[in-house]
């Protein structure tokens, strides 16, 4: 089997005296949809933050193996913008859109690390810059069509309804041309119809060649999408496997539902 696009070995994260994450191992292979689930406070978002460069892990290693076969990249302590440049993008649990920018501009920001025009090009509107701008606009528009937001291009992000904002975050992350997409609770607050549309969207993204790691609480969505599930509780991995295996794992049931007093 080829190398996993994301390989996490023995990841631990300490905040002062608190060990928020303990020796976590995780793998995502090319073309997989992997889910990370667990009760609230289990350390899932902390994991995302460690992997994307917002925190520097106390122990362990995070490796990115680009699917095109180029050299593996060690992500420990790498700044968030470099992590994104290397091909891993994320969305946020509490939506972090650029509120006062339009929908299109939010996506265009995602193109920043794939383009290069700077001050001179901007001021003098050189041919190269104009071409790059046109390409950025076109690519961004196509991504918005993919998530179904093309009719709202000139709306300010803050004026969008909640479900649309979540989709915009995904579009923005896609614009950075990642081979691995990290989604932090993409279905939070969505109604069943929106969740079904999200299900289709994520499958389409996977079919286009992206790998996906998602944190999610909506079990129906997780079961429908995932090739593999990792379960964490109190910062530790307590189970991993296919959706069927995990859903019948007693440790997982105990973590979510608590122990039966009579058992």
């Amino acid at each position: 089997m080829s190398k996993p696009v994301l390989q996490v070995d023995g990841l631990s994260m300490d905040f002062g005296g608190i060990r928020a994450m303990c020796e976590l191992d995780l793998e995502v292979h090319q073309g997989q949809i992997v889910a990370l689930i667990g009760p609230n406070g289990a350390g899932k978002t902390t994991f995302f933050n460690c992997v994307t460069g917002i925190y520097n892990p106390t122990e362990g290693n995070v490796f990115l193996n680009p699917p095109d076969g180029s050299k593996a990249i060690r992500l420990n302590g790498l700044k968030p913008n470099l992590v994104t440049e290397k091909g891993m993008a994320r969305t946020f649990q509490n939506i972090r859109l650029f509120q006062k920018m339009t929908v299109l501009e939010n996506v265009m920001i995602g193109r920043h690390c794939r383009t290069s025009s700077y001050i001179f090009g901007a001021v003098f509107k050189t041919g190269a810059t104009r071409r790059e701008e046109r390409e950025t606009v076109e690519k961004s528009y196509r991504i918005l069509q993919k998530v179904g937001l093309e009719s709202a291009v000139n709306e300010l992000a803050e004026n969008l309804p909640y479900g649309a904002q979540r989709r915009l975050e995904i579009a923005r992350a896609l614009a950075t041309e990642p081979f691995l997409l990290l989604l932090d609770e993409p279905a939070a607050g969505m109604n069943p119809q929106e969740t079904q549309e999200l299900d289709d969207l994520i499958k389409r993204i996977r079919d286009e060649g992206h790998s996906i790691l998602l944190i999610e609480h909506d079990m129906k969505l997780v079961m429908s999408l995932s090739d593999k599930i990792y379960v964490v509780d109190y910062g530790r991995k307590i189970a991993e496997g296919t959706p069927q295996a995990v859903s019948s794992d007693p440790a997982v049931i105990k973590a979510y539902l608590g122990e039966d007093i009579d058992a």
Partner: protein, 300 residues
């Protein structure tokens, strides 16, 4: 050696005043996360109020002790009122706005108050009456430590003690600590957060006013601009000690006062203000938590 002791006490005096003003900065920052830019002006208004009251009373022939007490009371009462009003008008409406909005509003308030006093009183330096007479028992050491220095040190020590008792043992103190830790939770357990915040401003302003009156009497003159420099230095002291920490403000005040005194005494007096500003810049860049503060990790 004598020079050293002289500088030492001079530094303690400075440090006391910085500490008194710094307490206001640190308490307000601890409770609403705002750098109260206008706090220096509260200090200045305290000094001016004391000046006006003391001069009027002395013209009408009141005895010195009553002048000191009444001027001090007036300074504290009016400064507290200004502090309360400023919070209500310029900061409370912005409590849920982005932090920078409140900071800009504070800057505006500072400029407004400076010019208000300038227009209401005068742009010239005003001579401040000497409120603390030279005590007889101080005569043998008068060339090293003045009576004024002594009074300032004692008053500061008393104020610190009173504040510590208030914060640690009184109901209001407990409410203040709770609000500083978690405002929403404090509201949910029934604390009147608005009242607590107003109280914080009132206490901080009163302390600054007393400091203003004492140092004005010590130096002998005031003008509308003293708040700016004193404010920045006191803020430096608060940050040095760890912003949000009350003992930190006191520690920072004395450290700054002493270092300034020795630096200007032994090195050069021209660059006195540069020293304070540079210290401020260096602390904020390299150790923003200060001496007694805790490093804040950002929650994402």
């Amino acid at each position: 050696m004598e020079y050293f002791i002289e500088l030492f006490f001079s530094g303690l005096t400075r440090g006391s005043i910085y500490a008194l003003i710094a307490l206001g900065y640190t308490m307000v920052y601890g409770i609403i996360g705002l750098i109260n830019f206008a706090h220096g002006e509260i200090y200045m208004i305290g000094a001016f109020t004391a000046f006006v009251v003391a001069t009027v009373l002395s013209i009408y022939g009141f005895p010195l002790l009553s002048i000191v007490l009444l001027a001090g009371l007036a300074a504290a009462v009016w400064s507290a009122s200004y502090g309360y009003t400023i919070e209500k008008i310029a900061y409370r409406p912005l409590r849920s706005a982005p932090r920078l909005s409140a900071l800009i509003s504070a800057i505006g308030m500072s400029i407004f108050l400076q010019n208000y006093v300038l227009l209401a009183q005068s742009s010239d330096f005003q001579p401040f009456p000497e409120l603390i007479p030279d005590f007889h028992f101080m005569e043998p050491v008068a060339h090293i430590v003045g009576s004024s220095d002594l009074v300032i040190l004692l008053t500061t020590a008393l104020a610190m003690a009173a504040l510590t008792v208030l914060i640690k043992f009184s109901r209001m103190g407990k409410a203040m600590r709770a609000t500083a830790q978690d405002r929403t939770m404090a509201m949910l357990v029934g604390i009147d957060v608005n009242k607590v915040i107003s109280m914080t401003f009132i206490i901080g302003s009163s302390l600054a006013a007393i400091g203003g009156m004492l140092i004005a009497s010590h130096i002998g003159q005031i003008n509308f601009f003293i708040g700016f420099i004193a404010g920045i230095k006191a803020f430096t002291a608060a940050v040095l000690g760890g912003i949000g920490s009350i003992p930190g403000a006191v520690l920072g005040g004395f450290v700054l006062g002493l270092t300034e005194s020795f630096a200007t005494g032994y090195v050069s007096s021209d660059y006195e203000d540069v020293f304070a500003f540079s210290l401020l810049v260096l602390i904020l860049i390299f150790k923003p938590a200060g001496l007694l503060g805790r490093e804040e990790t950002q929650k994402v």
